[in-house]
């Protein structure tokens, strides 16, 4: 008990709980995925409430079911999916700072809406950054995370927390900033140059009909079921893949490539979903109906800059 590091002790890891931050930079050319929090909006708010810098490491809890015990005085915030968060069995608010004492038990239930909850701690979880300057966990690569081996949280893991140096203010996110994850999701798409690979009728159905999020989706990519898209021509020469790229394989069912995507690939790409829309997509459960709408690069850049500047002040 004495030489255990200060932090949150994992009693139950849940379905999939991963340490995540803003992801890697400058290593994609080595074949390393980017990673990072899937819903940056919820993740960044958690850190913001606690006065952490943008990019601090937090816990991404997919499908809930995570139970932890605290062994120090600290502050946490739970944001994102509408889980029931309890401290010692008592329900506590989401999107707000919670004060914890040694011995407190924290539990996150399965979500009523949304998919991924974020648990941020004051100062951020203290793990050594790996490749690309990131602490993110990469299960497919077997890199990063608490033990630098890509493993999700396991029972008995201790998530190291910094000591709290002074009394911290209690804060909550204003209600109008808290998304309704039950609302129908329309995703903004920047059309790419390869759009001329698709006949007009394919674009017409892509933007007018809805697609269902397939259960065969993960942090690499979201598969969609809906009207098959016709493609002119075959595979392209492999090239670097952008975040949110909508690639269309031979079966015509689009795949949106996400944070843990492979770095290069050769399927034709219709365009890319904007990062702000990917934040919303990260909270969509399998079976969700998705619609797409075209946006301009200018508008998408303006929206993304607003987001980054707000959390990087």
């Amino acid at each position: 008990m004495t030489d255990q590091p200060q932090g949150l002790i994992v009693r139950k890891p849940g379905f999939l709980s991963l340490l995540q931050d803003a992801g890697r930079t400058r290593v994609m050319h080595l074949g390393l995925a980017c990673g990072g929090a899937m819903d940056r909006h919820a993740w960044a708010w958690g850190n913001q409430l606690l006065g952490n810098r943008y990019g601090a490491t937090a816990l991404e809890v997919t499908f809930g079911g995570c139970e932890l015990t605290c062994n120090l005085n600290t502050q946490i915030a739970v944001t994102g999916a509408a889980v029931t968060c309890t401290v010692n069995g008592e329900a506590r608010p989401l999107w707000a700072t919670l004060n914890l004492c040694p011995g407190d038990d924290i539990a996150l239930s399965a979500p009523q809406s949304g998919l991924r909850a974020y648990l941020a701690v004051r100062g951020g979880f203290q793990t050594e950054a790996g490749l690309g300057g990131s602490c993110a966990t990469f299960t497919r690569e077997g890199t990063g995370g608490l033990h630098h081996n890509g493993k999700p949280l396991q029972t008995g893991d201790v998530l190291p927390c910094p000591p709290m140096t002074h009394e911290a203010p209690n804060r909550k996110v204003p209600n109008h900033w808290i998304p309704d994850y039950n609302a129908e999701t329309a995703l903004d798409v920047i059309l790419g140059a390869q759009v001329d690979r698709f006949p007009a009728c394919a674009l017409e159905s892509f933007f007018s009909e809805s697609y269902e999020l397939s259960p065969q989706s993960d942090r690499m990519g979201v598969r969609l079921n809906g009207p098959a898209l016709e493609i002119n021509g075959e595979r392209l020469i492999s090239e670097g893949i952008s975040l949110g790229a909508i690639q269309v394989p031979a079966d015509g069912q689009p795949i949106i490539l996400l944070n843990d995507r492979q770095t290069i690939g050769g399927y034709p790409k219709l365009g890319a979903v904007t990062p702000r829309s990917l934040d919303a997509l990260a909270q969509c459960v399998p079976g969700s109906k998705l619609r797409f709408r075209p946006t301009s690069l200018h508008e998408a850049q303006r929206q993304e800059q607003t987001f980054l500047r707000f959390f990087n002040q």
Binding site: H29, G31, G240
Partner: protein
């Protein structure tokens, strides 16, 4: 020098330097990446070379498309006029390989497809210098080309569930080494004792786009002396061959 760009995401553009796979593009793209790193510095979050392209990811806190292209254009245009100014000769990486059916279960098939002996197939595979066209599929997985036409072979119709790290394969006219144990559909012809990817090294990936690679055949004793492994063989024939009737 020809180049054009395409918008591929909110913070990415893809530079195109040609329309088809060509060894000459490898050094062009490598020089472009190097001049852009010098010009843009911290403004560049990633630069990912591939066969004909260079994907750039930039920082929207510092740039938008217009400001990026304004600085990128003169840098790339100067490259085209100055030609081969201070370009360093590409690095040549020597890769020892134990070519043997025990670690390369498709070696005999590759040779028989080409109507040549296994020894001749090894000679032809080691007899040329390969270019690293791109890294992808997995950390440190380098696509090398081009193999001699007669050694080219399509991917297996059913990929193997597990290919050990270090295994060398051929798919179409490309050759590559699996950096980590993973599923794979390439025709396997040997194994290197070298570690292709190690996160704790200063340069985690042994191979990077733009480098040249020479394969060198080594004997079983050299292979094991270099800590090469013969265990964890996934293929059925491994046990029978290990009894020792090779060559």
């Amino acid at each position: 020098m020809f180049w054009r760009y395409e918008v591929t995401g909110v913070d990415t553009i893809t530079l195109h330097f040609g329309e088809k796979i060509d060894v000459a593009l490898v050094s062009t793209i490598n020089r472009a990446a190097s001049v852009l790193h010098n010009t843009l510095g911290e403004r560049l979050l990633d630069a990912v070379p591939s066969y004909t392209t260079l994907l750039l990811r930039y920082d929207l806190l510092q740039d938008d498309l217009a400001s990026l292209v304004a600085d990128l254009k003169p840098a790339l245009d100067s490259l085209s006029t100055a030609g081969n100014e201070s370009a360093k000769p590409p690095e040549v990486v020597d890769v020892p390989v134990f070519y043997d059916p025990r670690v390369g279960p498709d070696l005999e098939n590759i040779a028989s497809r080409a109507n040549i002996s296994v020894e001749e197939a090894i000679k032809r595979h080691t007899g040329r210098t390969y270019h690293v066209f791109a890294i992808g599929f997995a950390p440190g997985f380098a696509y090398l080309g081009q193999v001699a036409d007669e050694l080219a072979a399509p991917r297996l119709s059913t990929p193997r569930k597990k290919v050990p790290a270090g295994t060398l394969g051929i798919a179409d006219t490309q050759t590559a080494i699996y950096p980590i144990s993973s599923p794979g559909g390439w025709n396997l012809i040997g194994r290197t004792p070298l570690t292709l990817f190690d996160p704790d090294r200063t340069r985690p990936s042994l191979l990077e786009a733009g480098q040249l690679v020479r394969f060198r055949a080594i004997s079983e004793s050299e292979y094991t002396a270099l800590s090469g492994k013969l265990d964890d063989l996934p293929w059925e024939t491994a046990a029978a061959n290990a009894k020792g009737d090779q060559k």
